[in-house]
Amino acid sequence: MLYREAGQFKTSYAADQAIFPLAQDRIGMAIILAVAFIAIPAVANEYWLQTIMIPFLILSLAALGLNVLTGYAGQLSLGTGGFMAVGAFAAYKFATAFPEMNIIVVFLISGLISAAVGIVFGVPSLRIKGFYLAVATLAAQFFLLWLLVKYPWFYNYDPSGVISAPPIDIFGFAIDTAVSKYMLTLIIVSVLALATKNLVRSHIGRGWMAIRDMDIAAEIIGFRPLTTKLSAFAVSSFLVGVAGAMYAFLYLGSVEAAAFDITTSFNILFMVIVGGLGSVLGSFIGAAFILTLPIFLDNFPRMLGFEISVETVTHLQFMIFGALIIFFLIVEPHGLARLWTITKEKLRAWPFPY
């Protein structure tokens, strides 16, 4: 009833190939965007914006980047943290070397540098697959962090090894409040999410999925494994690099290389797996789940009025968090995004059985 396509006739391929061919989806998306762009900045306080919404959006972008590589192109990667670090340090170098450069340009260049590094570390994927590739990307993670710590040039010879984002402004408009940072993050993430969605629907995205699903057949119908795989690495690292730059500039403000360690890579991988491999929506759901659940579990006992020590809460949080991940993976191995798809299919007929 609620989600019927009945009566919505498409008269052109352009209409049929729209991102949201159904009116219900368009309305839903409009509501989400309205909430994100209007309601949240108006209502949310600084704590909400700074500790939940901004990291959520940035990590969603990183998860989206990994999803391009792992979910769409089928190349398992554990190097996400390393590429985020490359993005962050590249942004820092450019922002300090050229203070007058527009911050969006800085972010884009950082993304491009991260993409170039990603291509280099993607070369092994031409020979190895699966777990072996994961180990090779793990090397990227450790090597990149080591490099960024080893050479002081990367953090402008700061004795503490910390990079601090300089004050940023866009066209004379200072980005210093939580709201302005949130808005900038939201705009960048929205544009890049839209671009990624378009990309995965295009012939380039079909090439990635073809390589993922059946690499021999993909090659026989004319996809070159070299360009297909490396373009996935490039796009993925670009998104992850921009996310890293934003993580340093718009979320933490000052950051050291160790902030992008292997834990970050695993967390983002969990977001992609829990949210849904091969789904743009899933990247966002996964990020929301992995990021907000610990915060919720932290505060939940206190909301109920239990007096528990901080250590117990931390232990409980780990246990419940782990259990929930396992639970969701058993209920829906294809991630939370698939649950949403199934819900939509059910809503077509609801309240009738079929």
Binding site: S202, I204, A210
Partner: protein
Amino acid sequence: MREFNETLLSVENISLSFGAVKALTNISFEIKKGEVLAIIGPNGAGKTSMLNVINGFYHPQEGVITFRGEKRRQMKPYDAARQGIARTFQNVALFKGMSTLDNIMTGRNLKMKSNILSAAFYLGPAKREEIEHRAVVEEIIDFLEIQAIRKTPVGRLPYGLQKRVELGRALAAEPDLLLLDEPMAGMNLEEKQDMSRFILDVNDQFGTTIALIEHDMGVVMDISDRVVVLDYGRKLADGTPDEVKNNQEVIEAYLGVGH
């Protein structure tokens, strides 16, 4: 009886071995432009290996392949695709996570040129290109009568339909030479009839040259212009269905030697 004169592809003295195992020994035959050629033989005769050699998947140790009058060097499968050779597989090799429509669209990839940036923002040229190719793919979907499943993920389709989608994907490349590896394996009679009809229609309407491997002798004898028989990696016979049917060596390969 149709007559074909122009040679599209010829293989000469092809030998292929994997270590000590000889998959193909000294095989020569020609595929004429516009014909339907069947390659038959008992299991393990080297039929699929032969197709793999033709589309660049295996590299024979000896022999020459000439395609459209040009001698071919060692090439990769995607080069073969570029030159106009498409194929289907014995075990369906579709992209399981994608819909029928997207699977067939992948067949158009060599003709799609829009770059990563215009694709990302779905700008004019990228959008136009996508719609242009969609129109071609829709024609193929009509041709193969699979309109009802165009948005269905291929993993959910029954086997017979998957085979048909795979044929569609190969056709989308508008190949000059279409290699079909057991297009009717595991099908019931009606599905076989449908598939035979599609193969003949492809040959007739698009003028596509077809080389197919098939075990169903009824089908082979009905739809092919010429038959090549392989056994233990050697060529036993080559001729019209009637000639092959009465060839003593072929009868012995299939039925055993009379005592």
